[in-house]
């Protein structure tokens, strides 16, 4: 049995071809009608259970093709993949918030402060980033969407506070709901459930472009290191989930923001910063309400986020988005059916989804996400004449 070392040094996904053992920059030429018809659509649903795409937990959608995440190293023995990471997340002693600030300031020196925007969701994670940058004397642009649903009133309250004191652009959420404008979604090489949220990213990117912002920070990954139980000695699994490719190089960057010349970065996508924060939390138990973070970052946050642990729920926008885009979804399913002849894209499937989407159960939601993202993938390829 031979062992392959597979290294992707690029900022976008590369693809490992099992038959030849070669790492490819793209697989556009493999997207033939024959391969699409033979694709394993069930594997895509299975892959969606993972937070990030990683070869060791990936089921092949296109036979013999495994995506290798950007800036990651892997070893392959037989059919088994394992990480080959050099990232050291062992805890450091006596780290404090001051160390985190020092590292953040140093990283931000590399970025033109006038070119920075931050996603304004009204939640804790992005508020921490906003508070830290404000404390450094920076005045980033805040960009977000305002959701009028009742369950988002606490987020709207926080957005309103920032709107009064900082340069902000809040878009109407109706135009950027999940499932909106899927027929405009850029063609991509493998199906991704993230594509469902394309219109949100496109709307935010449009504002950043107009306001000449080149770096957009988000709060991706904060849930992991602010909520998880952090043992004193970290397991490699935790470290892998927090690798920069899991937080920084993602579908949005590759297919949306990079096209506008914008870099979409997690506020936590620095291994040095992460190491300090996880060292500060070492030995702490699971903290789903992020009470530790609310206390530690207290002076950088609105008092509401320190004293309360409220959090909205995205099931409402998911349902409204699906029902509002039903016509478009029918259109892309029709095209996916025409190309693949697979019954999973039959018209009755959309009807059944529309009748059940409001049930708000995980299994149905996952199935809808999986099927619609598959149809979006095939539709985009056909629209851009990428199918050979």
């Amino acid at each position: 049995m031979t062992m392959n070392l597979v290294c992707n040094p690029h900022k976008s996904v590369c693809y490992f071809e099992t038959a030849s053992g070669i790492l490819r920059r793209d697989v556009w030429d493999l997207l033939t009608l024959k391969n699409l018809r033979a694709a394993n659509f069930t594997a895509h649903t299975k892959n969606m259970s993972n937070f990030v795409v990683r070869p060791d937990r990936y089921s092949e959608v296109l036979s013999g093709i495994t995506p290798i995440p950007p800036r990651s190293r892997w070893s392959r023995t037989g059919k088994q993949w394992s990480t080959y990471s050099e990232i050291n997340y062992q805890p450091l002693w006596n780290k404090t918030i001051e160390d985190a600030l020092r590292v953040s300031r140093r990283i931000l020196r590399l970025v033109d402060s006038k070119a920075i925007a931050i996603e304004l969701s009204g939640g804790l994670d992005t508020s921490i980033i906003i508070g830290l940058l404000e404390s450094f004397g920076m005045r980033p642009l805040l960009v977000g969407t305002k959701n009028d649903n009742y369950e988002f009133r606490t987020e709207r309250h926080i957005q309103g506070l920032y709107e009064k004191s900082m340069d902000s652009v809040l878009l109407c959420n109706q135009a950027s709901l999940p499932f909106s404008r899927l027929d405009d979604c850029p063609s991509h090489q493998l199906p991704s459930s993230t594509s469902i949220f394309y219109s949100h990213a496109a709307a935010i990117a449009g504002v950043c472009l107009q306001k000449q912002k080149r770096v957009l920070f988000n709060g991706m990954g904060f849930d992991g290191f602010l909520c998880d139980n952090i043992p004193n000695m970290f397991s490699s699994r935790i470290a892998d989930l927090w690798s920069p490719w899991a937080l920084d190089d993602n579908w949005f960057n590759e297919y949306v923001y990079s096209r506008y010349g914008i870099s979409y970065k997690s506020g936590a996508a620095s291994r040095y910063l992460l190491r300090i924060i996880v060292s500060m939390r070492a030995g702490k138990s699971e903290d789903l309400q992020k009470r530790w973070a609310r206390k530690v970052f207290e002076r950088y946050l609105p008092s509401e986020l320190v004293r309360y642990t409220y959090k909205g729920d995205n099931c409402g926008p998911f349902i409204e988005g699906f029902l509002g885009s039903e016509e478009t979804i029918r259109k892309i399913f029709k095209e996916a059916y025409r190309i693949t002849k697979s019954p999973i894209f039959a018209e009755s499937v959309v009807e059944s989804f529309a009748a059940n989407v409001h049930k708000n159960d995980d299994v149905t939601d996952k199935l809808i996400l999986s099927r619609v993202s598959l149809a979006t993938w095939i539709y985009g390829l056909a629209r851009d004449e990428k199918i050979k």
């Binding site: 369950e151 009133r153 309250h157 309360y308 409204e320 409001h358 049930k359 708000n360």
Partner: protein, 192 residues
């Protein structure tokens, strides 16, 4: 001691339809015509609704109420009443309301009642499913609820998910309930 647990409907009109919770069956109902409640909103309910609309006005939970006053005798009694409510289930909404109308004040305030209910065996296992039983039991056993508390039943529209919670004296007394802010109040239950 009998004190009828009254109701006040809070229908929600959306586009051309309206949503309301039936005060007798507890079901979430969608009506194709607009629905309004002509009755005057009681002050107590109006005050509590203000805190639902802006949860940041609520008094935050500082710490868990002390377990000092919870005797085994109280907990056993509480457990018996909880089992009755469980047996009635959410399907017998009006019967559950009537049972809560037979008051048994064993706690000074609803925070203490909620903390004690949280320790009952079935609450530990199924707390996410028993919000109605928990809140009705707290309303039944808390002395302060009669004067200052309102029990809300609400829905996370457009889903059929429902939830019950209490607002008392500008506070949501269940420290373990993080969900309540997601639900739009559509039925208020209170004592006169």
């Amino acid at each position: 001691m009998w004190s009828y647990l009254r109701h006040f409907e809070l229908p929600f009109n959306q586009d051309k339809c309206s949503w309301y919770i039936c005060p007798f069956s507890g079901s979430l109902i969608r009506a194709s015509s607009k629905r309004t409640n002509q009755k005057t909103l009681p002050d107590k309910v109006a005050q509590a609704l203000r805190f639902c609309s802006n949860p940041y006005l609520c008094k935050p939970h500082v710490c868990e109420p002390s377990a000092r006053h919870r005797s085994d005798q109280k907990l056993n009694k509480l457990n018996r009443m909880h089992r009755v409510l469980e047996r009635l289930g959410s399907g017998q909404f009006f019967a559950s309301r009537c049972y809560a109308s037979i008051r048994c004040e064993i706690f000074m305030d609803t925070s203490h009642a909620m903390a004690a209910i949280g320790e009952l065996p079935s609450e530990k296992d199924y707390s996410h499913r028993l919000c109605l039983q928990r809140t009705l039991l707290a309303a039944k056993t808390s002395k302060s609820f009669k004067n200052n508390g309102v029990l809300f039943v609400g829905s996370l529209l457009p889903t059929p998910d429902m939830h019950a919670w209490i607002i008392e004296d500008g506070c949501q007394p269940d420290a373990n309930d993080r969900q309540w802010i997601l639900f739009r109040p559509m039925l208020a239950l209170y004592y006169l």
